[in-house]
């Protein structure tokens, strides 16, 4: 496993001010994620999982602490540059897919390339079609999201996340809105991406899926309460099993 740190959070706090008072969503998070890791963030509702993912993606700002992703302190970037940097270096996948409803699947996939001016204009549709093909959706390239199933939409969202070939994928409950069979197929895609050298941090409620990553972080009340490295051995019948848990 590679040891180059891709994500570094140091002393990250996030406090939300609401009408009901201040709410500390994150209470001094320290976290390092290395290149090639497949990390699951698990915990109950309100534990701070989404807030933590939002810190890493730059979608939200910490109240205190530093966030460094791919050697960049992302919150030192101006908003416009951060958006472009995110578009080039991260692929973000949402629970509710968040595809633009009036664009076709292929147009949704091309969107990050267009905004970040990646690949020349002739290459973009070719690359987008290639990504959709990898997702098994080549025949649905010209359909709008409302005509696709949930699983198909999430595949399109994954293809969009891969549009600019980012090294890091962040997924917030990517299977939360899918049936188990579809969720399984999505997870297998993630496993393929890991095999291809991507780093994935995924928020999930699904314990079965969480057990198949190689590291899981359990959060509660804004803190990481458990950080486990999980090594998987291949049994003679080809099934994976948790061979060892390394508690941290």
């Amino acid at each position: 496993m590679a040891t180059t740190p891709l994500i570094e959070l140091r002393g990250v706090h996030k406090v939300y001010k609401t009408a009901a008072g201040s709410f500390p969503a994150l209470k001094g998070i320290n976290l390092t994620v290395s290149e090639g890791e497949f990390v699951a963030l698990i915990g109950k509702s309100g534990s701070g999982k989404t807030t933590l993912i939002n810190m890493i993606t730059g979608i939200d700002y910490p109240t205190d602490g530093t966030v460094k992703v791919i050697d960049t302190e992302i919150f030192k970037l101006q908003e416009g540059r951060l958006a472009q940097w995110r578009g080039k270096n991260m692929g973000v996948i949402f629970q509710f897919f968040q595809l633009l409803p009036t664009l076709t699947a292929i147009e949704n996939v091309m969107l990050p390339m267009d905004f970040c001016n990646m690949y020349n204009k002739k290459e973009r549709p070719e690359r987008a079609m290639h990504l959709l093909d990898q997702m098994g959706l080549a025949d649905h390239a010209n359909k709008i999201p409302s005509t696709l199933s949930g699983g198909q939409q999430q595949r399109v969202a994954i293809a969009r996340a891969l549009a600019n070939d980012p090294p890091l994928i962040l997924a917030d409950e990517p299977t939360g809105n899918l049936d188990s069979k579809t969720a399984e197929s999505i997870f297998e895609l993630f496993e393929d991406l890991i095999q291809n050298g991507k780093t994935i941090v995924m928020v999930t409620h699904d314990n079965d899926l969480a057990s198949r990553v190689n590291r899981d972080l359990t959060m509660a009340d804004g803190l990481i309460v458990q950080d486990r490295q999980i090594e998987h051995a291949i049994q003679n019948d080809g099934a994976q099993a948790v061979a060892q848990e390394t508690a941290q």
């Binding site: 939002n54 939200d60 472009q84 633009l100 009036t102 267009d114 905004f115």
Partner: protein, 798 residues
Amino acid sequence: MSPRWRKIWSDLTVNKTRTVLVVLSIVVGIFAVGSIAGTAAIIDRESKALWMSIDPADGSLVTTPFEAALADDITAMSNVGTIQLRRTLNTRAELADGTEKDLRIFAVPDYEAMQLNRIESESGDWPPPEDAILIERNTLSLLDISEGDTLTVRLPDGERRQLPVAGVTYDLSQPAGSVLDIAYGYVSPATIASLNGGESWNTILFTVDDDALAASGLDRESFSAQVANDIRDRVQAQDVIVVAPPFISVPGEPPGYVFIVALLVVLGVVGSLTFILSGFLIVNIISALLAQQTRQIGVMKAVGARTSQVVGMYLGMAAIFGVFALLIALPLSFLGARGLAGFIGDLNNYKITDFSAPWWIFALQIFIGVIIPVLAALVPVISGTRITVRAALDSRGIDASNTSFFDRLLARFQMFPRPVLLSFRNTFRQKGRLALTLATLTLAGAIFATVFTVRNSLFATLDDALAYENYSVAIDLAEAYDRDALIDAAESLESVSAVEAWTEVTERIRLDDQSDEDVNILGLPTDTQMLIPLMQSGVWLDESDVENGIVINTNIADLGVTTGDTLTVIVRGEPTEWQVIGVARAIFSLENVAWTRYDTLAETIGETGLARLLRVTTSPNDEATQNAVVGTLSDSFASAGFAIEGTQTFAALEVSFNTRFNVLVLSLLALAFLLAIVGGLGIAGTTSINVIERMREIGVMRSVGAANYQVLGIFIVEAVFVGFIGWLLGSLLALPISRALSDGVGIAFSNAPLTYSFDVGGALLWLALALGLAFLFSFLPARRASRLTLREVLSYEG
């Protein structure tokens, strides 16, 4: 097409209702401004070119008859350039239906060698042959006559002459006869001599000498007035009397042009307000669009879009709306300008042949159509796209509401059903959106009510103007005749119920700064029943026993003369003094007019016992009786040897006023119609978008048991409530705006504010429109939403 522009294009085409609403609102704005600006440009160019093509005079004087030799005397004056003589004879034309029309007949010494105010031939014979008449093209319809027909003319002495209509002319130098209800005819010098019994002239047209003008240091108009006075002094020294104030042209402008400018300014103001209103609408709809697409904005930023890129997309959408609107509005504006310019041209006898608008009109419309929507969208787009990614993605379609003062207030009104309270609360939930919607509705309602009020005020002022003239028939005599004899001759006629004989003089008043202004002074009985003046200050003649008391109109008062002042009037070259006892309002008149006792004026001008004007009331006082009395009176006077210079019935005066202001009234109504469209679009747009962006809320309400009618009721009550508040605020705003515009219209047309009369009917009409449209455009989308399945509604993505 790149995906971001593909998204914008899809947004435009997927939500056709919204696109149509925005485009139409921009179309109305472009049309209002473009057609009025285009009309102004066409009229300005064509009318001035036409005017200059006739070699216009700088001024003219109408006098008692004089011999042609006097022209040499005038031409010799060093400050006079060119002169042109005319003979004007006021007669009556007998129409085929038995009625009569005023017919002013002209003759010039040589039609082929006219120096000033040249008359052109339209068709038929040219120059006018002997014992025939040519009719001015604008007045053919007044006489209901065509080339080749025979016209019966009643001369001042009562004699009737048959004159064949040998052709048609175009005379731009005369005010449009169709507006003044006067026909114009043109005859040869010999013919007019046979009509009025002598070879003489009574009108002097002149231009000023350019060198003298340059040396004077004055502008052309002021110098022309000075030269007119010099000519008057010269001719009066030879016992030729100037019978009316000299007419001084505004350099480069045909007669009546100032009224057209005033008309177009008024229309331009209202048109611009309409355009501003459409700008509000754009802001409103773009704001609603951005609110609907909050989550999409967050997604775009999450996948790499900079705020500037997102701003560019939505401003691009605004520009595309503008381009769509231009495609519709440009040809419509062209047609509108052509139509309005043609209408104004026909009314004012401008023979417009080139209706092309200058290039800058198109540039203006392109600027309005594209740049203004982009500018209008700028604030909502920038504020809507600055939302953070987290806030945008957290948007769930059901907004959190803080408990506000209004919420707590509403909580006390438990007598209303819960859904109704929810409607009221929803109305104030999005204060920014409400403010924009109310601003649009308020402005639309205010302008709508203002337009109707200006129209109402115009009619009220016309009524005041006509109320001044409390007579049925006015007779102007060719010279002063025995007053008692005139009265006896008139009173002996059937249908005549009352007669007054007045005198008049046209002279000059000398102001404190020693400058002179022309004035028309009428001498009438102090207890006159034929004139009901609207007094601004002081008293009328019957309330004063000052022998030389004089009542002035507000045009003279504007020169600095007030009640109590001593007014110096130069009568027959000698200064006379008059005591100003009151000021009466001038309505739709730019002339300086004053009134004094008959006895005093008659004595001053040496015409004691004589009269020049007759005012008659008829019974019944209808148009037919008035016309009949004119006919019998003319015969009777002819028998008695009284020559009539001109006649006017009250009915004709009414027609003249109404015709003059028809263009303004019709144009204002057309603009009110446009306003209704824009205001209606505003209501339609905001209410339908309001429903659409709360689709999920509809779903949630239905999922917890709300019946369809209850859901519908919430939105309808909300929309109608907002419509009502907008109407109320608009009506209140209409009070000062309508007052200001009424005053402005009055001052533009007649140097005095209109008689203000707020049109409650117009305000109520807007209320009905606003509430009706609010109901319709909330009912339709809400009903559509209520028919979707719960799943469809809850997953609606706008």
